[in-house]
Amino acid sequence: MPAQIIQANQTPFNAVPVDPVTLDIIENALRNARIEMDATLVRTAMSPGIREQGDAFPLIADHTGKMIVGQFGSYIGPFLDGFDGTVEDGDLIFLSDPYSVQGAISHSNDWLVLLPVFKDGRLIAYTSMFGHQSDIGGMVPGSMPIHATSIFQEGVRIPPVKIWKQGVYNDDLIRLVMHQTRTPDWCKADLNALIASCRVAARRVIEMAARFGDDVFTSATTLLLERNHRAMKQLIASSISEEPVTFEDYICDDGMGYGPYKIKCTMWRENGRVVLDFAGTDPQSRASINMLLNENMMRMFFGIYMIMIFDPQILFNDGYYDLIDVRIPEGSLLKPKFPAALSGRTHVLGRLFDILGGLLGQKTPEFLNAAGFSSSPHLFYAGTDSQGKWFQLFQIGFGGIPGRPLGDGPDGHSLFPGFTNVPNEFLERYFPLVIERYETVADSGGAGLHRGGNGIDMVYRFLEAGTIAIHDDRWFVPPWGVNGGEPGARARKVLIKADGTQIVVGNKIEDYPVEPGDRLHFITWGGGGWGDPLDRDPALLAKELAQGLVTEQGALRYGVVLNNGAVDAPATEALRAKMRAERGDTGVFNFGPDLETLRANCLAETGLPAPIPPRWANA
């Protein structure tokens, strides 16, 4: 049964005309309020995940729950549909269970607060924000056990509950929740920060409504949604073909030895609407790499990619949702059945962006980017130090950004919005470790006219015994190149024991013990290349050799011969001619070797056994 909205004042809002200038002013003011939410959060949160890395997402929605500003689209509609309770003045709703909001948040680590904004007894808007908590209990530090087989192993699950109920704070509830986590101080601060951000935005909304009038404000939000609907309709008509296009890509493994898992999407235009059909995607995994994908979130991703690729001037909101039809098969990797584990969904989330890029650019290769939104690699390091103090690090790493129509992919940068790395001096000061190396890996970016960004080699020397966990992907199926560009290098993790023994460890491991003096090379993927590497200016290769970004050997992939740092022009010309003659048609996509070849060479190339093809009872 849907939520019951209780308003002291039942007068409906009147639709009134809003002049275009006022409309733009309200849109701007809402955007500023959203920026203020981010600023408040970053300044008051405490976990490195949120305060240093920015793993949190705000939104402001209209009184029906449609997002006006924000990033990941509104989950409020689906939430209200499934919430068996009331929404009242003075309430503040708190939740983390993905299954209770149809995947609007996708794992229990994301804590979401939702603040219905009332003015003069009427519900006028919602503000909301969710952020990733460093630990919510469960079977491993960090609460994202890759080998979990059910969501019950992944820490505290919070159904929609009220922290504040008609203005009354529920202290017992917060104490109960905080009792479940290994890092209650961080969680308390981060939750406070999320709430403070929502309150700041709520205050701005009320000020705005007071300034322009409630009817003008609500009419304006409706008009902003309509404006987007119109713009998107036009964009869809001009950019999406009626003829279906299909793209598929893989998650390398599930951390339990099985893989790869296929995600497949077919896209076409039908009666002015876009259909995104995930039929052909593999069934759900027994491990935690499943992603409960909310249809609205997928609509938002699609919309954002459309504008970034075709027209970055437009500002986006929820207004165009009914133009996009998202179809996801039940029981698949993207719509697993309760109580499937979900905590390791980051790999699928990243891969969805590669798939969107591959779909949208297929008919218009000049707009196509290479692959590289490949993962959001995690490292966990936890234990009790020699003074008896618990330490727990959760860190998100970065890899190579793909080659783009605009130019080279930046080396070692973030594909997720707003994320930054943690200063290594900060890590060394607050955790028992030394970061011995923080550099990108030469030649790891895929060769291309615009090369892919290099991945990063980050070397941790651990000073205390403890356990580590690693979640990364793109170690088996490489990030693809486009328009003649080559795939980027794959991710790799190597542990060097104090005695010099080298151990290639998996890219999805849990509870792996480390000893003082152990060194971990945490190596991330390189971005795929864009365009023909044989067309890249040889002088650039000479420069990048001096910069340490490519090697002499690596330059050969571009058909460039370097001698003592200088371009050997005749040799380069000859080599390029030979390569051109020998290679076939380059095609739009270069996925690297096929799966069978990857499997056959896996141990030799990666140091790890090939994943076993997953089997499903009913497949």
Binding site: D185, A189, N228, F353, N369, L406, H413, N424, Y438, Q547
Partner: protein
């Protein structure tokens, strides 16, 4: 007679303001800038203004200067070629930066990554390592250092930066490399991270030190040239430059530490506003400095401008103290347009700049700008005082008509829409520094200056609820006025990073005393008497685990009396104001700073002759302008002829040499005792 001369060099004009320190009398002059060698324009101005005042250049005791030379060197990539020595494993510290990509989801698709300020090919790593407690865990490999330095020297670098991991705790390795560098490349200027910025965070510290190194040669050359030219013209007085934080420093010091000059330009306007506020009896001010392409805003509370620990220049965020000035891409030259897909009215950030400029300037501009909308609406009358500068109103109308057509509304409505949007953008910037920092704008006045500030200040005051709207004396040369009226300042900082409850108060006091002595010595070395130096401390506090510190100013006496407990209590109050909540977490003392300031100058403004309240003597002519949906009658006044106490009913326009003040319908302007126009709603 003591004369102070403030000089502000802008892109188009060099503004000068000569101030008689004992009488408060001043003279102003505007002369074209000479970008190939700014000192030429400056000397032209000096000659002219001294003639006006009837003095010789040798009578000028203090030459005080705000400059954008450092800013432009960074923005235009004209800094020196910087070599960088980093710790083994960190060669790409500038290349990777903070891994941050601006924009939202998929923003990476359209982001052009800027080239690092120190090129990767000019960066070399060396072995040797300090840990996070400042202990050496690997000795410096001197043979390798020598080799690296030799390589860099031979490659032709023009400046050297040394920035090693954890050097903020222990600078011994950096110092040793500097010794070797002095041997190997004696003529190359050095910048060391533990001296420029002894604070945690390797990227920010390295960037700041590199920025310092990059602008050093440019600033040094500029300052030496200027000094020589001024001396040549007979000026014997001292030469000081305005720092980003609104204080002055000697030209010699600025050659060593030019990173402190990056926001020198905008700081002048803010310090000028403080001087105006003091004389007008207004202590809380929001500043609105409207130029051709952008608007700078700042908050002044109790005649102190808010400072921040970062200086933003282009895409770089450098760790150096600066006034908290926010910039928005909204100015007189901002272009209005209607994107086809959304049909929305947008203004800026694209600007017509000085060339081709607004259509009304008849210099080849064809796109409608904010200035054109002001002309169409009658806010900028076409025959300005003196008549040297004619505005093309018909051209402006034609350009604004394109916007009206795209929106399907009337010409005047479209023009007013453009003004409303640009005012809204300025309003947004002012909110960021006031409401969003927990200040109530109703406790503040708004002061508009720069070429177009007085034109927009009335409307912005109405949006903010901040009264009065102030059009200061000489709004066009307020930056030069600020240069002339501020005081000397220097500071030093240190990372501390310890919980307050585990900190020995005596140790902190001893450290601060030490730092105070160091900064005081710097000022006394500049010839300031010890008794005239004021010291202040700043402590950065946060809840343990937070990333954001709140800086708290405190003097030595209060610190001794209230102790660190007093400081944490103030932090809690400030945190509550900023973020609406407090926590029971431990407090962490993050950074310590000591500030030393020269004597505060008591520089009075000259009194304006009192009138009888009726401005009729200053009336130039009758006029018409657009207000509340119709053309209404208005009057144009000559500012030079206004008298103290004159009351000007709106709508009215007040013109002067380089600026125009708009008093809106429903408001009244009052001329105060020193010539400022204070506008209030009726």
């Amino acid at each position: 007679m003591t004369y102070r001369l403030g000089v502000d060099v802008g892109g188009t004009f060099t503004d000068l303001l000569l101030f008689n320190q004992s009488t408060g009398a001043f003279w102003r002059n505007k002369t074209p800038s000479t970008p190939h060698d700014s000192s030429e324009g400056i000397l032209n101005g000096v000659t002219a203004i001294c003639e006006k005042a009837g003095i010789a250049p040798s009578d000028v005791e203090f030459f005080l200067h705000g400059t954008t030379v450092a800013t432009n060197a960074v923005l235009e990539g004209k800094g020196a070629r910087v070599g960088l020595i980093t710790t083994d494993g960190y060669r790409q510290v500038m290349q990777i930066a903070r891994s941050f990509v601006p924009g939202g989801l998929a923003g990476w698709i359209v982001w052009p990554k800027p080239v690092p300020l120190a090129a990767l090919e000019d960066t070399i790593e060396v072995r040797g390592r300090m840990d996070a407690q400042g202990n050496e865990i690997a000795p410096l490999d001197e043979a390798q250092v020598r080799q690296a330095l030799t390589t860099l020297r031979d490659s032709g670098i023009e400046a050297l930066t040394i920035s090693l991991i954890n050097a903020y705790l222990h600078g011994a390795h950096e110092a040793r490399i500097a010794e070797l560098a002095a041997e190997i490349m004696p003529d190359i200027p050095l910048s060391l991270s533990h001296l420029v910025l002894p604070e945690m965070q390797e990227y920010e510290r390295t960037l700041t030190t590199v920025a310092n190194a990059a602008v050093r040669p440019v600033v040094g050359k500029y300052v030496r040239n200027l000094r020589d030219r001024l001396r040549g013209a007979g000026m014997a007085g001292s030469l000081s430059l305005l720092r980003s934080d609104g204080g002055l420093m000697s030209s010699e010091k600025s050659e060593e530490h030019p990173v402190s000059l990056l926001m020198s330009g905008p700081a002048g306007g803010v310090t000028g506003a403080i001087w105006v506020g003091r004389n007008a009896g207004i202590r809380n001010i929001l500043t609105l400095d409207v130029g051709g392409t952008s608007t700078d805003v700042a908050l002044i509370e109790n005649l102190e401008a808010r400072r921040q620990r970062t200086t933003e220049v282009g895409h770089l965020s450098v760790r150096a103290s600066a006034l908290d000035v926010k910039t928005v891409g909204a100015g007189g030259g901002s272009i209005a347009y209607v994107p086809e897909l959304t049909g929305a009215l947008r203004v800026g950030p694209q600007s017509a700049g000085a060339v081709p400029g607004p259509v009304a300037y008849s210099k080849g501009g064809t796109l409608p700008t904010v200035t054109d909308a002001n002309v169409v609406l009658g806010y900028l009358p076409e025959n300005l005082l003196g008549g040297t500068f004619k505005l093309d109103r018909e051209g402006a109308k034609k350009a604004v008509q394109t916007i009206a057509d795209a929106l399907g509304i009337g010409l005047m409505e479209a023009a007013r829409g453009i003004i409303d949007i640009v005012n809204e953008n300025m309003f947004g910037a002012l909110r960021m520094i006031s409401v969003q920092q927990g200040y109530d704008p109703r406790d503040f006045a708004v002061m508009g200056f720069g070429g177009a500030g007085p034109l927009h200040v009335n409307a912005v005051a109405r949006l903010m609820g901040s009264w009065p709207a102030v059009s200061p004396v000489s709004p066009g040369v307020l930056c030069a006025l600020g240069d002339a009226t501020t005081r000397m300042r220097t500071e030093t900082a240190r990372s501390f990073s310890r919980r307050v409850d585990q900190t020995d108060e005596a140790e902190v006091l001893a450290l601060l005393d030490d730092m105070a002595a160091q900064t005081r010595a710097e000022l006394t070395a500049e010839g300031i008497a010890e008794a005239d130096v004021t010291s202040q401390f700043e402590l950065d506090i946060r809840y343990e685990g937070q990333a954001f510190e709140v800086p708290l100013s405190i003097d030595a006496e209060v610190l001794r009396r209230d102790g660190l407990q007093g400081v944490t209590a103030r932090f809690d109050a400030e945190h509550l104001r900023l973020f609406t909540f407090n926590m029971d977490s431990a407090h962490e003392l993050v950074n310590l700073r000591a500030v030393a300031m020269g004597p505060a100058l008591d520089l009075p403004a000259q009194k304006l002759e009192a009138g009888n309240g009726d401005p009729v003597a200053a009336k130039l002519r009758d006029h018409e302008l657009w207000a509340d949906g119709a053309m209404v009658p208005a009057v144009i006044y000559d500012r030079a002829k206004l008298r103290a106490g004159d009351i000007i009913p709106g709508p009215a326009i007040v013109t002067e040499m380089d600026s125009t003040t708009l008093i809106e319908a429903g408001c009244t302007g009052a001329v105060d005792a020193v010539g400022n126009i204070l506008i209030n709603p009726n």
